[in-house]
């Protein structure tokens, strides 16, 4: 590029910081440190989930229960959990790509009810509807009826 220049060239000292920043940007993820802000191995959306679950919960009288109270709320935001954040997320079984078992849902619901002191307020039971969303016809995604289910957790 033919450009105007009247200033003398700088010294090698000028390259110290750029080399350090470029070195860390390239090298830090190679050491296994996925995220150390401001350096990152950019792991966003690096997984390939094939399904996810939508939950809804009702008590024994048919009233909706907020999912946060039952550890069923959405916490996955596309970044692999555990990297790049200083605190653990609030407990939840939400994880893209995973369909929780009946026991896992029951354990989460009990954990949420006890933690939030809700066991006496749900009128005998909590009914969870688990809708599994995934490939329906090779072209689109939608609810997979054969994998979706309803389960009731009885509170005694």
């Amino acid at each position: 590029m033919d450009v105007y220049c009247k200033s003398p060239p700088g010294s090698l000292r000028e390259l110290i910081l750029p080399i350090a920043v470029i070195g860390l940007t390239f090298g830090l993820p190679l050491t296994g440190v996925v995220d150390c802000y401001p350096f990152t191995g950019a792991p966003m959306f690096n997984e390939e989930p094939l399904v996810y679950c939508e939950y809804s919960a009702k008590d024994g009288l048919g009233n909706e229960i907020p999912l946060e109270l039952l550890r069923l709320q959405r916490i996955d935001n596309g970044n692999p959990p555990g990297h790049g954040h200083g605190r653990k997320p609030r407990k939840s079984i939400d994880r893209l790509g995973k369909i929780p078992s009946v026991d896992e849902v029951e354990e989460a619901v009990w954990g949420g009810l006890i933690e939030n002191r809700m066991a006496q307020k749900v009128h005998g039971s909590v009914t969870i509807e688990v809708q599994v969303i995934g490939d329906v016809d090779g072209n689109r995604i939608g609810i997979l009826p054969e994998k979706s289910r309803k389960q009731t957790v009885w509170i005694q």
Binding site: C5, Y37, L50
Partner: protein
């Protein structure tokens, strides 16, 4: 690399150019960084978590200092206010190089404090932080020349843009996208571009009223094509340091970002502008005088000095 080519490389990196492009790029990086900080106070009540245990893994450079002070929300607000003040001073060319160093430092700390207090992560501010450090170093290293020119009343024509500033910013941006692609390959392999995962993300977080959202949800082949193209662009993004590939990779990454911003609304607008400025031939156009950004508020051609004057 023999000594002669090393010398030539170093000499090329240290060559100074007029800062026509550098000023424009500096403006966008500093302005966007200040804008990005508004996200922090706005989402303080919704994004921060206070009552969960600390994560075991390293999250930020503040990892060794995790504790009660960092979890105080006023620390984050104070840092954001500091970024706004210092960024304004930097853009007004006041108190250099302190304003530039403090902008880079406070921006990095503000986002590090936020990430230390989150239960999930986001990657909208990493590239801005790294570019701020390089630009602050640039202003430090050319300060003497700039001050001399200022004292002669020729502040802008006395600001020079060493080649290493552009090449460093370009390399950092290219590596950022390169890692995004390499981590997908390492985690999922070529199967990452299966189309289903992108349809799931679009169903979860896509704007349902946007026409392209429906295209993604209604056509697996189209989605596979988009995913495969994104993966290829990211994996080969570091080739953008070579002029031959730069524009094409830039166009592809900008297209990818337009899709991300319009369908998902995630805050990568700044990254898209950085890629456009670094990978499309804006610098060449500006330095050769084929494009003069001052014409927008100073349209008189007599007032625009020729770059060879």
């Amino acid at each position: 690399m023999n000594p002669t080519s090393t010398q030539r490389l170093l000499s090329w990196l240290l060559t100074r150019h007029p800062a026509t492009f550098g000023r424009l790029f500096e403006f966008f990086v500093v302005f966007w960084s200040a804008c990005l900080c508004t996200y922090l106070p706005v989402t303080q009540l919704t994004e921060r978590v206070y009552d969960t245990p600390q994560n075991e893994t390293i999250a930020t450079i503040l990892h060794p200092f995790r504790g009660s002070l960092l979890s105080n929300p006023m620390v984050e607000i104070g840092l954001v206010l500091g970024v706004w003040v210092c960024a304004a001073l930097w853009l007004c060319q006041r108190l250099l190089p302190f304003s530039s160093w403090l902008t880079a430092l406070l921006f990095t700390l503000a986002w590090a404090v936020r990430l230390e207090n989150m239960g999930k992560t986001i990657h909208v501010s990493h590239l801005s932080a790294l570019l701020l450090w390089v630009l602050a170093w640039w202003r430090q290293e050319t300060l003497k020349e700039f001050r001399e020119a200022c004292s002669q009343g020729q502040s802008w024509s006395g600001l020079f843009y060493p080649e290493w500033v552009f090449q460093s910013c370009l390399t950092i941006a290219a590596l950022f996208y390169g890692w995004a692609g390499w981590s997908k390959l390492a985690s999922s392999g070529l199967d990452w571009a299966n189309g289903i995962s992108m349809q799931l993300w679009t169903k979860l977080w896509g704007n349902p009223d946007f026409f392209a959202t429906n295209w993604v949800l209604e056509s697996r082949p189209f989605t596979i094509f988009l995913q495969a193209l994104s993966l290829a662009l990211e994996v080969f993004a570091p080739l953008a340091i070579l002029p031959f590939f730069r524009t094409w990779i830039g166009i592809g990454l900008i297209g990818m970002h337009i899709g991300i911003v319009t369908i998902f609304g995630w805050g990568f607008h700044g990254n898209m502008i950085f890629v456009a400025l670094l990978m499309l031939p804006f610098r060449q156009w500006l330095e050769e005088g084929r494009l003069d950004w001052r014409m927008f508020w100073n349209p008189s051609p007599n007032k625009i000095p020729s770059p060879k004057a």
